[in-house]
């Protein structure tokens, strides 16, 4: 899929593709909607949506704004829940080991990426790698273990009669979607909210990724709907959603620090799906009808059920997790393993503590979609990264600072502007300590370094080039930098050299609202549904096509095309005829980094 707006758990930041948004048929309006939602300027947002005469623009502005709320909810839940904090910790474990990794790679010699591939003796022999350093082994085993934990979490529960994924991430998605639609209803009204629900490629009212929550909760008697006749063509649904977030928060409050788990025939305190099934069984067995309960009553019931089954209420589980996190940070501080990363983790921990206090003092603000919508979402301020996969020549615009890009040495940029560009920039918001009214991580400068330096290294260690990224050079340039720094070749494992792109031109038409484009090779106009989209990795995997392109040009045009090849990591839009030629060129399986 083409990523347009994402929440990155590795850096707790909200990312958007500024060039894709700008290429939509109402780039200015959609961009304004995005920033109004980020800044919590709801009156401006309402006004912007209301004044749009074109239904597509009206809906898309509202959809993008609501997607920002969706991602802000992820920011909250990744901080507040034990499951979310565990996901963040996976990356911090890599960050804290980064300096060790760089030092030990220099001693060990070439290693495979992702790092856990080195634990397979067959793989090492196949790739000609010798992996002997005990510290590197320890880091690799850590990565292998958390991948295994993620696998347990993501496994669909088909064997238990549920044909969908019910893991922790699916729960976070269910919560974010539910509050997003609720908020859209409150801000824009029923019609626009309904349009947002259908504003997806499949035009489904509720996509499969989110539908399971409602299906499961209704099937298991945890939630109910009332049908209200007489409004529009289809009956309206009134959702009694009080128990939804409290029960999911109880499921997400697992034990992730190797604490003793409580396990019986019917209950398990460990993984989110196991906890959820335990809760469903508990409410059923004790004939507790959640459907009529308010959010706070359901929260009380969920806490009591967890206390009874697992020996700890949800809040007590969160407190225990928070304490373990504090111990982990104190250990990092004592050992002095990496002062910078420890400070960033402390910042995360501090904000998490503030949000846990909100959950204790005012649970409705977190657990009730209406209260969250009215009182908390606009105070939730993740840092915002604008990505420009094609690269933007020049310096970042006002209000942004560069995170990644290129500025060639000894070049007069007035005469040769093409030699300086940026791929990612961060919005320059004030540090959080100057504004106690918002929930934001503390120091932007510190997080900028996490985003630009530590996170790409961690992503390479964890998933090679396969981890989806809005900007490919984030990974490619980081690998090159490490190789220069250590003097050692990092060998990208053959299975992890490229991300799964699977791009579809229908998606580009849908996202931009355009019905035609100009082929980026022949410059002919291509009309929907024709044309093809080639991902930046796929494009680089057919070097013969690239060479043919270069040879078709001459002089400065050829030089500019070569430069564009380095700079431009956006997908290529081409005619069907050009795509047919492209497919004829030989596909390389070599590492293109």
């Amino acid at each position: 899929m083409i990523p347009i707006l994402q929440f990155d758990p590795a850096t707790l930041t909200l990312w958007y593709d500024t060039q894709l948004l700008a290429s939509s048929r109402a780039g200015r309006e959609v961009g304004l909607a995005l920033h109004h939602a980020i800044d919590g300027r709801e009156d401006w947002l309402k006004c912007l949506v209301r004044e749009q005469r074109d239904p597509w623009v009206r809906t898309r502005c509202a959809t993008v704004a609501s997607a920002v709320w969706h991602e802000k909810r992820h920011f909250l839940d990744f901080l507040l829940t034990n499951y979310g904090a565990m996901r963040v910790r996976q990356f911090f474990q890599c960050y804290i080991n980064t300096r060790t990794f760089l030092g030990k790679v220099a001693e060990n010699g070439p290693v495979l990426l992702p790092l856990d591939r080195n634990l397979s003796s067959g793989r090492c022999r196949a790739m000609g790698v010798s992996f002997t350093d005990p510290d590197l082994k320890r880091i690799a085993e850590g990565i292998r273990d958390f991948k295994s934990a993620m696998l347990d979490d993501r496994r669909p529960l088909v064997s238990r009669g549920l044909p969908f994924e019910v893991g922790g991430e699916a729960m976070l998605e269910g919560i974010a979607y539910h509050v997003q639609i609720g908020k859209a209803h409150r801000v824009f009204g029923a019609d626009v909210s309904a349009a947002i629900q259908r504003d997806n490629l499949e035009q489904e009212t509720v996509a499969e990724k989110y539908k399971w929550v409602y299906t499961l909760f209704v099937q298991k008697g945890l939630m109910k709907f009332d049908y209200i006749e007489g409004e529009g063509d289809t009956p309206q649904l009134n959702i009694h959603d009080g128990p939804l977030i409290p029960v999911l928060y109880a499921a997400l409050a697992g034990r992730y620090y190797k604490q003793k788990q409580t396990r019986t025939v019917y209950a398990s305190s460990a993984l989110p799906p196991e906890r959820l099934i335990s809760l469903i069984a508990y409410f059923d067995e004790h004939k507790i009808d959640l459907t009529e309960l308010s959010t706070l009553q359901a929260w009380e019931a969920a806490n009591a059920a967890c206390k009874q089954m697992f020996g700890r209420s949800v809040i007590e589980e969160i407190d225990a997790d928070y304490e373990k996190e504090a111990e982990r940070i104190a250990y990092y501080r004592e050992t002095g393993i990496d002062e910078f990363v420890t400070s960033a983790y402390e910042d995360f921990h501090g904000l998490r503590g503030r949000l846990i206090q909100v959950l204790k003092d005012d649970p409705a603000a977190v657990l009730d979609q209406a209260h969250w919508s009215d009182r908390l979402v606009n105070k939730t301020r993740p840092f915002v990264v604008a990505a420009a996969p094609a690269g933007v020549i020049g310096v970042p615009p006002d209000g942004f600072e560069r995170l990644s890009g290129v500025a060639e040495k000894d070049v007069d940029f007035d005469k040769a502007p093409d030699f300086r560009w940026w791929w990612t920039v961060i919005r320059t918001e004030g540090d959080a300590e100057h504004d106690e009214k918002v929930y934001r991580l503390g120091r932007r400068d510190m997080w900028s370094q996490i985003i630009s330096d530590f996170a790409p290294i961690a992503k390479l260690m964890i998933d090679g080039n396969r981890m989806r990224s809005m900007v490919g050079p984030e990974l490619v340039s980081t690998k090159t930098r490490i190789e220069r720094q250590t003097g050692v070749k990092l060998i990208m494992d053959s299975l992890s050299r490229y991300p799964e792109e699977n791009l579809d031109i229908a998606e580009w038409y849908f996202l931009t609202g355009n019905t035609r484009f100009r082929c980026q090779v022949t410059h002919e106009v291509v009309h929907a549904p024709h044309g093809k989209i080639i991902g930046p990795w796929e494009f680089r995997r057919r070097p013969a096509f690239l060479e043919a392109l270069f040879h078709a040009l001459s002089g400065s045009m050829q030089e500019r095309m070569r430069q564009a090849y380095w700079r431009d990591w956006s997908p290529w839009l081409v005619s069907d005829e050009v795509y047919a030629l492209f497919k004829l060129a030989k596909l390389t399986h070599e590492d293109i980094g």
């Binding site: 899929m1 347009i4 990312w15 996509a207 053959s494 299975l495 998606e507």
Partner: protein, 132 residues
């Protein structure tokens, strides 16, 4: 693909099929424990794009010992293909019953095993692809 007297392959398939791949016991075939293809910890997308519930794929490295005569080697690869085909009977209804064999070093495709695959022909194809 080969390194002295060993041939390295990677086998990729749905988790339900791959979980038992290590149980395949054929003389001259060494199989590493299966591992997930992806870390499944990447960014979470805004709900504008297509549905993103993805099939969990696992991979395992397979080492074929090359120190046998060509005829015997063909038998080994056929037996191996037959065992992989048996694993497909364990796949869940929502999964694509398909195991892909690639060159471990380059990931260039070697062979695809489906429920309709003829094990002998598949073995021959693996042999030809790996010995060239």
């Amino acid at each position: 693909m080969s390194h002295d007297d060993e041939i390295f392959l990677a086998v990729v398939g749905p988790e339900s099929a791959m979980k038992d791949i290590e149980k395949i016991s054929i003389a001259g075939v060494e199989i590493d424990p299966p591992q997930p293809m992806d870390a499944m910890v990447d960014a979470v997308d805004a709900p504008l794009g297509p549905d993103q519930i993805q099939l969990i794929l696992m991979h395992a490295t397979v080492v074929l010992k090359f120190g046998v005569a060509a005829a015997q080697f063909g038998l080994v690869t056929a037996q191996f293909a037959g065992e992989l085909k048996k694993l497909l009977t364990q796949t869940e209804a929502h999964e694509k019953p398909r195991i892909v064999i690639v060159d471990a070093k380059t990931s260039a495709p070697v062979m695809e095993i489906t429920e309709d695959t003829d094990a002998e022909k598949a073995g021959e194809a693996i042999k030809n692809a790996t010995r060239t």
